[in-house]
Amino acid sequence: MTLPNSLPQPHILLVDDETAITENLAPLLARAGFRVTTAGDGRAALELTQSQHPDLLVMDVLMPRLDGRAALRHLRQAGDWTPIILLTQVGEAVERAMALEEGADDYLNKPFDPHELVARIRAVLRRARPGQPPLVAAWKLVCGPLTVDRRARRAYLDETELTLTPKALALLEYLITHPDELVSRDRLLDAVWGWDYPAGTRAVDTRIAELRRALGDDPVAPQFIETVPGQGYRFVGQVEGDR
């Protein structure tokens, strides 16, 4: 998918202390239609964000001088909601909770397929509402009768608490924070499970079925989770976030 020609090239700030990464990713992103600036640490990233106002940051976590997490916190505390994709793992519950506090727009585990990064960047840019916190930074998400309270790790349907396994809840959380976005099973595995599994895509389908049962969602006429045959899933409801 390409961006309409009438739009200016989105400006990406690529931050990683490993020059092997920036040197190889920058031309790839440029070929994908982005204007790319690179930085080697969090402090340089903060300075460049202030002076150049990029449309999105792709940032590693472990870096000298100022690491990615600290740079991200710094920006968010200053009320800067420039979309950020952090290059790290958020597989475990602890990391997930931390990620929520941080307010990054998306996460990608190293090593990743560079085309997946391009897809993530496009999805985040499409979702972003300039100057406003993204849904992924919201503590509470509401979609019609469905409420997900991320702080309490509970979900309610018409104010009745849903009984969900932790994995199914994490899956619901990911889908509801990425509304109207086609998410592949592999992406869900990476983002929610954090691991690759043999027959992993079937594990995703099993949890989706569990979610649908709990939500009373009809796959033929879904109110929440739509199956995109051969491609993945999409959260179809209108979602409001509350930070």
Binding site: T165, G194, R202
Partner: protein, 306 residues
């Protein structure tokens, strides 16, 4: 083993004064005229004091010996850990060297390729090796994660799980040329549901079955079967493959261990280490029996909690 032998021999030490005492007493007894009667007398207070001193000395000696034993044990443990670590690093070095060498050669072939076909072949070979490294890194992370990862404790239907694992194994290209069978008890009752992380348990059973597929040859038989008693479920994978040498049998669960029979086969060398880690986290046990030339039987025991 050595350490245990030393601990046993230590208890022979108190026998030495006992034997010396018996020897001396027999000697004095046989020389009746040189066996005078000795009378000891003293104030009760002095006796109490002497008793105190003797008890204190005995206690101090006991504590010293216990300390010494503990220090020796700790040194042995840390030496074993250091040895494990060195062994692991050596194996890791080995696992990295081969794909890297192949990548270097592949890259040289890419730049020297004279036509599109040669370039495509070289690029394909590099991509394969990169995938191999990627799998190794992913498996290493799984192993590290398993130590701390929060385990899901949801009811797992083992019959379902084993059927899914079996179906996936059957879909592998190797399965076409082997006889695969699945045997799950249904009478008088099906396998019990256990509490655990379905995805991890799936991975564990699949890794064992995948190993059997990998190490057997055309015409071999592989059986996946399960049994239960009230307290545990036994899952077994038996194969008629080449078997594992006795010397390698103790190490098959070690990280990155490859016996002579396992060299040259694809895989990260972490498959069974992951199986063990997952089963242990579920409170279960793993075991392997093998007869070279006949085959291998890997078993997983998982506790059933009522």
């Amino acid at each position: 083993m050595n350490h245990r032998r030393r601990t046993t021999s230590r208890w022979l030490l108190p026998l030495a004064p006992l034997l010396a005492g018996i020897g001396l007493s027999l000697l004095l007894y046989s020389l009746a005229d040189r066996n005078p009667t000795v009378y000891l007398s003293g104030q009760l207070s002095a006796l109490a004091f002497a008793l105190g001193v003797i008890l204190a000395l005995l206690l101090a000696l006991g504590l010293l010996m216990a300390d010494w034993a503990a220090r020796r044990a700790a040194t042995a443990v840390s030496q074993a850990a250091a040895q494990d670590r060195r062994r692991f690093l050596r194996r890791l070095d080995h696992e990295l060297k081969n794909p890297l060498t192949a990548i270097l050669a592949g890259l040289a072939n890419v730049s020297a390729a004279e036509d599109e076909d040669a370039r495509a072949t070289a690029v394909h070979s590099v991509t394969t090796q990169v995938q191999r490294l990627r799998q190794l890194v992913a498996d290493l992370r799984k192993l590290a994660d398993l130590e701390t990862r929060e385990l899901e404790h949801a009811p797992v239907n083992l019959t379902d799980l084993l059927e899914d694992v079996f179906a996936l194994a059957q879909a592998q290209p190797e399965a076409e040329h082997r006889t695969l069978s699945l045997s799950i008890p249904r009478a008088p009752w099906p396998l019990p549901t256990i509490a655990g992380d379905r995805d991890l348990l799936f991975l564990a059973v699949y890794n064992v079955l995948d190993n059997a597929l990998k190490f057997t040859q055309t015409g071999d038989t592989i059986e996946l079967r399960a049994a239960e008693d009230d307290s545990q479920v036994l899952i077994e994978v038996g194969d008629t493959g080449p078997g594992i040498e006795a010397a390698d049998l103790d190490h098959v669960w070690d990280e990155l261990y490859r016996g002579d029979g396992a060299r040259g086969f694809p895989g990260s060398g972490l498959g069974l280490a992951l199986v063990r880690a997952i089963v242990l986290r579920h409170g279960g046990q793993t075991a392997v029996r093998s007869r070279p030339g006949q085959g291998t039987l890997v078993s997983i025991r998982l506790p059933v909690r009522h």
